[in-house]
């Protein structure tokens, strides 16, 4: 369930309605950014978010991602 996919916010398209353009592998779709919008909408541009049914639901934390990957590398090394 709950098909979600990482997309990059490339532009704010309608600030009043909290709409932005998101891009996934070269595919663009307008999404609602209400759930991830702070005070400065423009600050979203360039950020990655988890996109679900046309809504950016959560910003993706690159540090956490790296930490998870490091964690996996660990189990790899422990194997070696």
């Amino acid at each position: 369930m709950c098909l979600g996919i990482p997309g990059r916010i490339t532009a704010i398209t309608d600030a009043a309605r909290l709409m932005a353009m998101a891009e996934v592998s070269g595919v663009r779709r307008e999404v609602n950014v209400a759930c991830v919008a702070g005070h400065d909408l423009e600050a979203l541009v360039g950020q990655w978010a988890l996109i679900h049914v046309g809504f950016a639901m959560s910003l993706i934390d690159a540090d956490e991602a790296q930490e998870t990957l490091d964690q996996m590398a660990l189990s790899r090394e422990s194997l070696a």
Binding site: H52, V53, G54, F55, A62, A65, T68, L69, M72
Partner: protein, 378 residues
């Protein structure tokens, strides 16, 4: 694809599979005495089969496919009501694609469409909202279904419709929640589960604390997981580690997306628009207390149940499900899909009988489609 491909690395996967094997051996898991781990979420079921993880993983680890496909657990009576609304003159009924094939007692939405009902597939409730703006003479109904992941999108859409004063947009609300059916499963005396893979995208909305009861009250480990194959493998490893260490805790493998306390905007929107129903029916599981949401009275103008006098609004209860399906037993891990007497006979993906054959997320459909279980059955 950034934040996805990195988590599909075959080398990392092999390492994780080895680590899992060692851990499984360590705790004495074997084909005859497997550790039962339920992935609650249908998306996880999908990933398991898509990447063939069930075949690669140590034979002492057995995945039990949970009730986490909102399309699959939709009861027939609700589908009947969808059809009833969709067939009203003037209505444009909008829905996610995968809900089209779910059978009702009389017909599915796909069949209703072929019979002339104006049913449109959309990607987002925003698209239904836009359609309502552009079709002032028509009533645009959005088929709101899904767990906590999806609920904010319809809540925000209803709030937006209210702001714009749209009078021809409504939502037929079938949103359900994850913790309640899990509790129901855990309360089942025949329950055999040893741990859980927690739903990553539900959790990005609600955070990880709603699962505390699983560890605290039932003593079962749960790891909230991402959807890529190494995410899943790492999460299995974390569950096994808890078991090995005799712990039961809520852990978060998917921290890049899931904040501990969830998403405050989403939670506020849900709280503003929805309230709990006393109870809601799940296909295969029956009525579960407080497991469904309904639209609050202040948004009654956007509530299709109110607008059309249909469903729980009318006090009418569900028509009984079809006899002879073992969905409940499969969903609680008591039976494998192939052990259901209907599997591949009365129940196939093109003519599904039970919940789990309906969407490709459903455990039985996934078995059929990806695992080659058909030959086993035939």
């Amino acid at each position: 694809m950034k934040f996805a491909s990195e988590f599909r690395d075959p080398v990392a996967a092999r390492a994780l599979l080895s680590a899992i094997a060692r851990k499984a051996d360590a705790i004495g898991a074997a084909r005859a005495r497997p550790v039962h781990i339920m992935e609650i979420c249908g998306g996880h079921t999908h990933s398991i089969f898509r990447y063939g993880l069930d075949r690669l993983i140590h034979e002492g680890v057995e995945f039990v496919h949970g009730p986490g496909c909102p399309v699959c657990v939709l009861p027939m009576a609700r589908v009947d009501e969808c059809v009833e609304i969709a067939e009203r003159p003037g209505v444009i009924f909008t829905t996610f694609g995968d809900a089209m094939r779910v059978p009702g007692h009389r017909k599915s939405l796909l069949q209703a469409k072929s019979g002339g009902a104006d049913i449109l597939m959309v990607y987002s409730p925003l698209d239904a909202l836009e359609l309502a703006r552009r079709s002032p003479g028509r009533e645009v109904v959005f088929f709101g279904l899904g767990f906590e992941t999806t609920t904010p999108s319809t809540a925000l859409s209803i709030q937006q419709a209210a702001r714009e004063g749209l009078t021809n947009f409504s939502v037929f609300c079938n949103h359900i929640t994850v913790p309640e059916p899990i509790k129901a499963l855990l309360d089942d005396p025949d329950m055999v589960l040893d741990g859980f893979i927690g739903p990553g995208h539900v959790s990005m909305v609600i955070g990880t604390h709603p699962y505390d009861f699983i560890a605290r009250d039932y003593g079962k480990p749960i790891v909230v997981a991402g959807f890529e194959p190494t995410d899943l493998l790492q999460s299995v490893l974390m569950v096994l580690t808890q078991i090995a260490e005799g712990r039961a805790a809520v852990e978060n493998q998917y921290a890049r997306v899931v904040p501990e306390y969830g998403n405050s905007v989403s939670l506020a929107a849900i709280a503003d628009v929805y309230e709990r129903r006393p109870s809601f029916e799940w296909r295969g599981l029956g009525e579960i207390d407080a497991s469904g949401l309904r639209i609050r009275a202040k948004y009654a103008a956007f509530d299709a149940e109110e607008k059309f006098g249909i469903g729980y609004a009318t006090g009418r209860r569900s028509v009984p499900e079809i006899e002879g399906c073992a969905c409940g037993a499969v969903m609680t891990g008591k039976l494998k899909p192939t052990q259901c007497p209907q599997f591949g006979k009365g129940c196939t993906p093109d003519m599904p009988l039970g919940a789990l054959m309906v969407s490709s997320e459903g455990a039985c459909a996934a078995y059929w489609q990806y695992a080659g279980a058909r030959e086993t059955a035939a």
